[in-house]
């Protein structure tokens, strides 16, 4: 998916050389359509043998019975060692004590910013506490001038408000993930902080059109901060003008108090095997190959996607890159979103209501009450299937 979709094709020829008799066809899909395409493919019974899936989608695919359990394959293999992976990330692939995917690359969100503009506003580095960070944002905006902003926050993305909520230790769902918990005090605090960014004019509300030109706008100084993921390491290097390549940097998320770094999302993509594949052995060999340390390095080189295997991080290529250090630090402090099939729908609802609150078509209170209402309804089937006795009818 995404940019790695196009680049991954370059990893294949070597695999085909090592395994004559196995031919691999790579298809790439944009991330925005990937989730629905996977589900459509599943319903239409035309799933690819091996596919990439965001790790937040694994519970949903597992509930559908679309994923082949990988524990047996794992036992036989020499190349993939669970211990070599970031613990928080490996966990997202284990559902009900069965392994359903192998992490391929990791994803978390950190701050990308214009170090030169921050410097001009009077800060040597990006502050570590919310309060100081807010002050820095104000300063940057003031220095940037009229009509410009401190940060771009795309309104279609649920990640930013959720990250703030996780930092406040808010539980997004309650009661064994049966009900929404968005009216809780902690979520409300995080939500207010999020909304405050727009109210104070610090954040540019990013609609589709703004995101379309984000690299240009970042280069122009239209905004200085952007909370995003590792794929932009590659994109920024490619798309920003050469003159600007020394002027941008990354930093881990600030935390509420400022002592340690703040929490961020345990994202990433995994490779999974279709339960209906007719070439499972060959498919597993492809997964093995793609998860080899060497290939992980190559993937990083091609796309900037961060490898899931920790040994690769010690290589000069990554260890020597100061911008990666922020991600390395951040990956020690990640938390995952609720691992339930309905998560994608809930995530979209969060972004819808967050947008409504930002655009002030609803007050924050109204938005959160409505969000809880919608989430409760989405989870109704889950409550029914889990039954009163907690007997799990979801996975047979």
């Amino acid at each position: 998916m995404g940019s790695e979709g196009e680049m991954a094709a370059r990893l294949i020829p070597e695999f085909e050389q090592q395994h004559p008799g196995i031919r691999v066809r790579v298809q790439s899909i944009p991330w925005s359509a990937a989730h629905e395409k996977l589900l459509t493919a599943y319903v239409g019974e035309v799933m690819p043998d091996v596919f990439q899936a965001g790790n937040t989608w694994l519970p949903e695919l597992a509930a559908l019975g679309a994923l082949e359990p990988l524990d047996n394959y794992l036992r036989e293999t020499a190349t993939i060692e669970p211990g070599d992976y970031f613990a928080g990330i490996w966990d997202t692939n284990v559902i009900d004590r069965t392994l359903y995917g192998v992490p391929w690359y990791v994803d978390t969100r950190v701050l990308f910013y214009r170090a030169d503009l921050l410097h001009r506003a009077g800060y040597a580095q990006s502050p570590r506490s919310w309060e100081q960070w807010l002050q820095a944002l104000h300063a940057v905006k003031a220095a940037a001038g009229a009509g410009r902003y401190a940060m771009l926050v795309p309104l279609r993305e649920w990640q930013v408000p959720v990250i703030f909520a996780l930092q406040r230790d808010a539980e997004l769902l309650r009661d064994g993930d049966r009900y929404g918990n968005f009216r809780s005090g902690r979520f409300r605090q995080a939500f207010d902080f999020y909304l405050g960014l727009f109210r104070d004019g610090l954040a540019a509300a990013g609609g589709e059109t703004q995101v379309a030109n984000l690299y240009q706008d970042f280069a122009d100084g239209f905004f200085s901060y952007y909370i995003t993921g590792p794929w932009n390491l590659g994109e920024f290097s490619r798309r920003l003008p050469a003159a600007l390549q020394d002027d941008w940097a990354t930093a881990p998320m600030p935390s509420v108090e400022g002592g340690d770094i703040g929490v961020s999302l345990a994202g990433g993509a995994s490779l999974a095997l279709s339960s209906r594949s007719r070439r499972k052995a060959a498919a597993w060999q492809l997964i093995e190959y793609l998860c080899a340390a060497r290939v992980q390095t190559e993937l990083y080189r091609l796309t900037g996607d961060l490898p899931a295997r920790r040994t690769v991080w010690d290589e000069e290529l990554l260890a020597g890159n100061p911008r990666i250090a922020a991600f390395r630090a951040q990956l020690q402090k990640v938390r995952s979103t609720p691992r339930i099939p309905e998560w994608e729908q809930i995530a979209q609802k969060i972004s819808e209501y967050a947008e409504a609150a930002v655009r002030q078509t609803m007050s924050a209170d109204q938005a959160l009450v409505a969000l809880d209402g919608d989430v409760d309804r989405i989870l109704e089937k889950r409550r029914y299937l889990l039954g009163d006795h907690g007997h799990n009818r979801i996975l047979q």
């Binding site: 196009e6 066809r25 298809q27 899909i29 359509a33 459509t40 035309v46 589709e208």
Partner: protein
């Protein structure tokens, strides 16, 4: 004098309207030839500084749009051929042949015009899945094989075939299918051309159904591939414009060449309503 003022002003308005109508299409072509990044220049440019075909090259090679071009062309052609056959047979029969339940069946089919296609989409998808044709060419062809609109068009036209002509052929001993093949198709040629252009255009431009039923990027039709590209390459304006040109050009050429028939067909359908 007043006449000249009127003439000039009408022509002026028409000219301005024509320019405004063509402007998006002209910009599309112009931007597709611009070097990367130029289409987003500030202030916006109208013409490329140095025209380049690199985006077309990228699309056709790296991004597999040539395959989508082929898919669209193949699907449009096959669907049109089948639809012409099925719709013309039925349209002729409803107009000129007598059989039990003819009028009731026709009215029943007309009801389909009122039901929006999207209503049938979900179960149709499940049905085609059972048949195993999801993500195949048939998945796109099958729903387009016959259309009530096409039958209606042919019937309207066929009503004007003189009965005497058909009876003479029957007296000569020709079978019904022979009459259809040799006589009716010939007489109905104008409306068939219209129907062909209409069906070809409709299939080529169809978006929602191929979006749903084709999951393999090697099967994508051009609009689906373009939408896909837009999802990933939204920052590459010039590339997207080149893709748009590729999607638009073939049908536009087809239309310009055959416009006489196509327009005549719509006009006959519209007025007789």
């Amino acid at each position: 004098m007043r006449r000249t003022v009127v003439t000039v002003s009408i022509h002026a308005v028409l000219l301005l309207s024509a320019v405004l109508t063509l402007l998006p299409l002209l910009w599309m072509v112009s931007a597709s030839l611009m070097p990367p990044g130029e289409a987003s220049a500030l202030p916006p440019r109208l013409l490329p500084s140095r025209p380049t075909l690199e985006h077309y090259g990228s699309l056709l090679s790296r991004l597999k749009l040539a395959q989508s071009l082929f898919n669209s062309a193949f699907l449009a052609t096959v669907t049109t051929a089948i639809a012409l056959f099925l719709n013309s047979m039925a349209g002729y029969a409803f107009a000129k042949l007598r059989f039990a339940g003819r009028d009731r069946l026709f009215r029943g089919l007309l009801a389909a015009l009122v039901i929006p296609g999207q209503v049938a989409m979900l179960p149709l998808f499940l049905m085609l899945k059972q048949m195993g044709v999801v993500n195949t060419y048939w998945g796109v062809i099958i729903p387009g094989m016959a259309s009530v609109f096409g039958i209606f068009l042919v019937r309207q036209y066929a009503l004007s075939i003189p009965d005497s002509l058909l009876d003479a052929a029957r007296i000569d001993g020709a079978g019904e299918f022979r009459i259809y093949r040799s006589l009716v198709l010939y007489v109905c040629a104008p409306i068939l051309v219209t129907l062909a252009v209409f069906t070809f255009m409709g299939t080529w431009n169809d978006f929602l159904w191929p979006l749903v039923v084709l999951t393999d990027d090697g099967m994508y039709t051009l609009p689906v591939a373009l939408a896909n590209l837009a999802g990933e390459h939204v920052q590459d304006t010039e590339l997207m414009m080149a893709g748009a040109v590729l999607a638009v050009l073939p049908v536009m050429l087809l239309f310009i060449v055959l416009q006489r028939y196509y327009v005549a067909g719509i006009m006959s359908g519209g007025v007789k309503e």
